[in-house]
């Protein structure tokens, strides 16, 4: 039972264009969401988060949008840079119970081409 889904295993984008990574979730108890970036042979690195009381959070080139009614979130990267090439994981957590346990999606491999 996959509670967090990333349906696109890979995405290829040209440098300077926008990258849009998508994530869907099924558990209504999730009330905060995070994106992590992972390079080979390294652990996941936190990128940006959003609480369920917001629908948008922006940090430099990275913006996360949350649509609670659709149980959908997306990460926008603009402009995309070659150094953004990595695997991106969507993660979700619930503040009520379970501590800060996060449930992760299967990841999307982003390739930014010159």
């Amino acid at each position: 039972d996959q509670q967090v889904k990333q349906n696109s295993p890979s995405l290829s984008v040209q440098e300077g264009r926008i990258s849009i990574l998508n994530c869907d979730y099924t558990n209504s108890m999730f009330d905060y969401f995070l994106w992590y970036k992972k390079y080979p042979a390294e652990g996941p690195t936190f990128l940006i988060s959003i609480s369920s009381i917001k629908d948008k959070n922006e940090d430099g080139r990275f913006t996360v949008f949350l649509n609670k009614s659709a149980k959908h979130l997306s990460l926008h990267i603009v402009p995309s840079q070659p150094g953004d090439s990595a695997v991106y994981f969507c993660a979700a957590g619930g503040l009520t119970g379970g501590g800060n346990k996060l449930t992760f999606g299967t990841g999307t491999q982003l390739k930014v081409e010159l």
């Binding site: 967090v4 990333q6 905060y32 995070l34 992590y36 042979a41 390294e42 652990g43 996941p44 690195t45 936190f46 988060s49 609480s51 994981f89 993660a91 957590g93 503040l95 379970g98 501590g99 800060n100 346990k101 996060l102 449930t103 992760f104 999606g105 299967t106 990841g107």
Partner: protein
């Protein structure tokens, strides 16, 4: 330390052997997590410590897996009678703990290969 440190970075063992994986969290972080990542999958939750106690061990796949954190800092994940299906990258993460949404900081992982 500056980040989450995991040792060994790579471990190759034979089926049936016992394995220990160590995690040294960020100094002062009270919460510590173990995750497992198999090829092509996202990190899968195993166990969460708040201080010395296991607050949630619902992700441990069976009783061959056990984890301890005796002094509320370093943690060891122990796997008995390893099986080929245990091969994966074992990730440790820590966070400040407390109320509210915390960001987990991950180590680089321990890659376990069971032959």
């Amino acid at each position: 330390g500056a980040g989450v440190s995991q040792t060994p970075s790579n471990k190759v063992t034979e089926k049936g052997k016992y394995v220990e994986l160590r995690c040294d969290p960020i100094s002062g972080h009270t919460a510590l997590y173990w995750y497992r990542q198999s090829l092509g999958q996202g990190p899968e939750f195993l166990i969460y410590f708040q201080g010395t106690g296991a607050a949630d061990d619902s992700g441990l796949p069976n009783d061959r897996f056990f984890a301890v954190r005796p002094e509320g800092s370093v943690s060891t994940l122990k796997i008995q009678r390893t099986e080929r299906g245990d091969s994966a990258v074992y990730l440790c993460a820590s966070s400040p703990g407390g109320s509210g949404a915390n960001v987990l900081t991950f180590g680089a992982g321990s890659r376990l290969t069971v032959l």
